[in-house]
């Protein structure tokens, strides 16, 4: 077994060399190798686009490459588990989005808000109800009026039961506007269903259906937010129609594992701030109707845990 011996000697030599190099993970040199960004959903979705755009824009300020890896599964929890269990050395970042936080409220995964340090909330958008331009009810008043008279007759395409979508519909039902929740797992099929006339409306954030809104196939009728959306000044809020539903915005954040050294978090936070201040980012968030002033630090952390508690409370009702 001469080979085995040779292999061992070779391995040992290499290892000793490596150990001499080791222990350089401290912050003064950070980052000195690529920083991985885990996108917690498959390629092609809203979280993926955000992650990839952010990765491109953060490469400059951080001075290293930021490869994106898609780790989909379990409503984003698979990727977060990976983020949580990787060393908290700032070399792994991840996307943490409201959909995943809502999934914690319905008992999915074993991740908690405390497991993550939110670097910044970079995108946020309230959701709307959209109706197809060929549909019978072109305003929220007409839609709600019909739903009041015909409970369950209006079908709304959503992303699932136990999500913000479901909570919103439940709140509407409590106010006497009972509409049928029709969950579509695949986003593409969800968007196609009202356009094809198979559902009467769709609950979605405007960024994800931007091209259909611009093409005039989908018409926004009501926004679930405290104020009207600046890009859609003619669309009333639900509060104006007598049902106050807000605080269920879709947001997307960049996060690292809890326990990451504070100076590394500061460095990443700075890089995110540089990225979000860039023209490219502005163009991106304008296109997806999701521009916000980035929320950082404790406020960002609180946003995540409050959101989970809010959804949990609503689902328990």
């Amino acid at each position: 077994m001469k080979t085995l011996l040779n292999k061992t000697t070779l391995g040992a030599t290499l290892l000793m060399g490596a150990m001499a190099m080791g222990g350089t993970a401290m912050a003064q040199g950070y980052p000195d190798r690529p920083v991985e960004l885990i996108v917690t959903f498959g390629p092609g979705g809203g979280a993926d686009l955000m992650g990839r755009t952010m990765a491109q824009l953060m490469e400059g300020p951080l001075g290293v490459s930021i490869p994106v890896s898609n780790v989909g599964g379990a409503s984003g929890n698979a990727g977060l588990t990976q983020l949580r269990t990787n060393p908290a050395d700032g070399y792994t970042m991840g996307t943490l989005i409201s959909l995943t936080v809502a999934s914690w409220a319905s008992g999915l995964g074993d991740n908690k808000p405390e497991d993550f340090e939110v670097i910044a909330v970079v995108q946020s958008s309230p959701s709307f109800l959209f109706v197809p331009s060929s549909g019978a009810h072109q305003t929220a008043e007409a839609l709600f009026e019909f739903a009041r008279g015909n409970p369950g007759a209006i079908t709304v395409a959503t992303s699932g039961y136990g999500t913000q979508d479901d909570v919103t519909l439940k709140l509407l039902a409590n106010a006497g506007i009972q509409m049928e929740n029709v969950p579509f797992q695949a986003p593409a099929e969800r968007y196609a269903s009202p356009i094809g006339g198979h559902t009467a409306a769709i609950y979605e954030e405007p960024g994800d259906v931007a091209q259909f809104v611009q093409a005039g196939q989908l018409v926004p009728v009501v926004v679930f937010a405290a104020e009207r959306h600046p890009e859609f000044p003619d669309v009333p809020t639900s509060a104006e129609l007598g049902i106050d539903i807000s605080g269920l915005d879709n947001y997307r954040t960049i996060a690292v594992a809890a326990g990451t050294p504070a100076d590394i978090v500061a460095k990443l936070s700075e890089a995110v701030a540089t990225a979000t201040a860039s023209d490219e980012w502005k163009a991106f968030c304008t296109k997806t109707y999701s521009c916000i002033t980035p929320v950082t630090g404790d406020a960002a952390q609180a946003m995540v845990s409050d959101f989970r508690d809010l959804i949990a409370a609503q689902l328990a009702n």
Binding site: T3, K7, G11, L14, L15, G17, A18, M19, M21, G22, R33, P34, E36, P67, V68, S69, S106, G107, Y161, G162, D166, N181, L315, A316
Partner: protein, 196 residues
């Protein structure tokens, strides 16, 4: 080339044709559907870990798997029934037909191969992709009958580096780097090969 018929030096008794011991063979055709029938009956009770809160509307998340398991139970039962029917008279063929290989099948070699593959996957996150792959290729080639070190060692090293470069360098895949010293070694290697 070293690949020509390397099996003689292994003390395996090649079992002609089929790769299963004959005693087990008679039992197997009924054991499989029986196991699947039991599985189909037991699994519905283990579907969820937590309470079902959001599932009060519609058919619920359990409906589809339950229906499919029920279907599986029915067909597994049919399978057993058919096998009993086969046993009741001579000349009937059992439901499961065990394939006949046209070459001798070395059962022991296959098991060792499976163990090597599983060990590779198990070691992967512990010692990292590069180290695990190099060891795996080396050991597999040696076991597979390729004993010429002048071939095996270069193939191992060049192959590992090429795979590393292709997947971690070009395709930017976050393949496991290993834990502890192996992580440091992987980072050193990735720097040395210009990937990081």
């Amino acid at each position: 080339m070293a690949s020509a018929k390397p099996n003689q030096d292994l003390g395996q008794m090649p079992q002609a044709g089929r790769g299963i011991p004959p005693g087990f063979l008679r039992l197997l055709p009924t054991l499989i559907p029986l196991a699947l029938l039991v599985l189909a009956l037991v699994l519905p009770g283990h579907m969820f870990q937590s309470d079902q809160t959001a599932s009060r509307v519609g058919l619920g998340p359990a409906a589809w798997p339950r229906a499919m398991l029920m279907g599986m139970a029915v067909f597994a039962a049919l399978w057993i029934a058919r096998d009993i029917w086969v046993l009741s008279a001579a000349g009937r063929k059992p439901t499961l037909s065990i394939p006949v290989e046209d070459t001798p099948y070395h059962f022991g070699k296959a098991i060792i191969g499976l163990i090597m593959i599983v060990a590779y996957g198990w070691l992967l996150p512990k010692i990292g992709f590069a180290t695990a792959t190099a060891i795996f290729i080396l050991v597999w080639c040696l076991f597979g009958g390729l004993r010429n070190l002048l071939v095996v060692v270069p193939v191992t090293l060049i192959g590992t580096i090429a795979l590393l470069w292709l997947f971690m360098g070009l395709a930017l895949m976050p393949l496991p780097r290993g834990a502890g010293v192996f992580d440091n070694f992987s980072i050193w290697l990735l720097r040395a090969t210009g990937i990081y």
